[in-house]
């Protein structure tokens, strides 16, 4: 039974565990080099591939780990909170986010680590995200109807592809390995 499932996520215990998870999150982001906007933006010029390498390794590790724990009967993966698919907002939001990512050089999580590393551009970016979220809230009366375009509840790739979660996780690992092989072959070396 996890904290979300037992309704105790918003409790001193939940906050303490969230703080500890956050410590590990920040540590690994910084170790990967994500406290550097030049390194993050480097993916969009095929200059540095760490964003793809780290992100897909992490997704593959967590996806495979979750399936493995579930199959072994150690953890019920169906009890994890799953976000609904809001197709239009997620595609339009994703495009805008990507534009802001390459122009600003950060995303919210990496900007926290960048600010901790002394990067003043990360502080400026973070301050601006506060304003950006308030602009969204201010426009909410106009935007709310648009949020429902393409809303289809919780949709998973296993549902869409008619495959088991284990097979989909294995496919993600396979695609990641092919991409990593290509990067290792063609990316500039040290």
């Amino acid at each position: 039974m996890n904290l979300y499932d037992s309704g105790t996520l918003e409790s001193p215990l939940g906050w303490t565990v969230a703080l500890i998870v956050g410590l590990a999150f920040g540590f690994w982001l910084e170790r990967a080099g994500f406290g550097s906007s030049r390194k993050l933006a480097g993916i969009f010029y095929l200059r540095d591939f760490a964003v793809v390498q780290v992100m897909f390794t992490a997704v593959a590790t967590a996806a495979l780990g979750l399936v493995a724990l579930d199959v072994a009967g150690l953890f019920d993966a169906s009890r994890v909170y799953r976000m609904e698919t809001l197709l239009a907002p997620q595609i339009v939001g994703g495009l805008l986010f990507g534009a802001g990512f390459v122009a600003g050089g950060w995303c919210p999580g990496t900007a926290l680590v960048g600010a901790a590393s002394g990067k003043l551009d990360a502080l400026a970016f973070l301050g601006a995200t506060l304003i950006g979220s308030l602009v969204y809230a201010a426009a909410w009366p106009q935007l709310a109807p648009l949020q429902d375009i393409g809303a289809c509840g919780v949709v998973t790739l296993p549902d869409l592809l008619h495959l088991s979660p284990g097979i989909v996780a294995a496919l993600i690992v396979a695609v990641a390995l092919v991409a990593f092989t290509a990067i290792n072959r063609f990316a500039p070396r040290r």
């Binding site: 906007s37 780290v54 724990l69």
Partner: protein, 179 residues
Amino acid sequence: MTGPIQPSALGAQRYWNPYVAGVGLGLTLLLSFVALGVGLGASGSTARVAASAAHVLAPAAVEANGYLGPWFASGSPLANYLVFMSIGTLLGGLASALFARRVDVGVERGGRVSARTRIAFAIGGGLLVGFASRMAAGCTSGQALTGSALLLGGSWAFLVAVFAGGFLVAPLVRKEWLP
């Protein structure tokens, strides 16, 4: 072309192998799933800080807002696990940067733009990202990383859109990042 970008600070350690860092990040996400029952997140906390700050200035307007109002129904929007997770992210990043001597105060930029121009782009990008994170109900942490690992359709659509948007706009801001 000279290989992966490394820290520029004098005496700083090199970044870790990206696949090692990726496994570490993936196990952190798995820990979050198992212990908390939710994945990682970052933009939610910044939006909650923004809502709290706005509430100090205009409490009635914020509470009447259809998007922010519900966050104040049960007290402060800061009494939320995402806020504590982001405090941890900040401290974890600080500890790692200190251990590796990578704390480097300054404006990070390419060699052909002024610090002022770089800050202007950071602000412009931050405005877009702050707005887009609310629209997509998450950012690279909550949607692209967490949702993709949960094999969620919308999160994969977001992930693909983020890279598409980034690569489309990259030529326009190329000068910002040139060595």
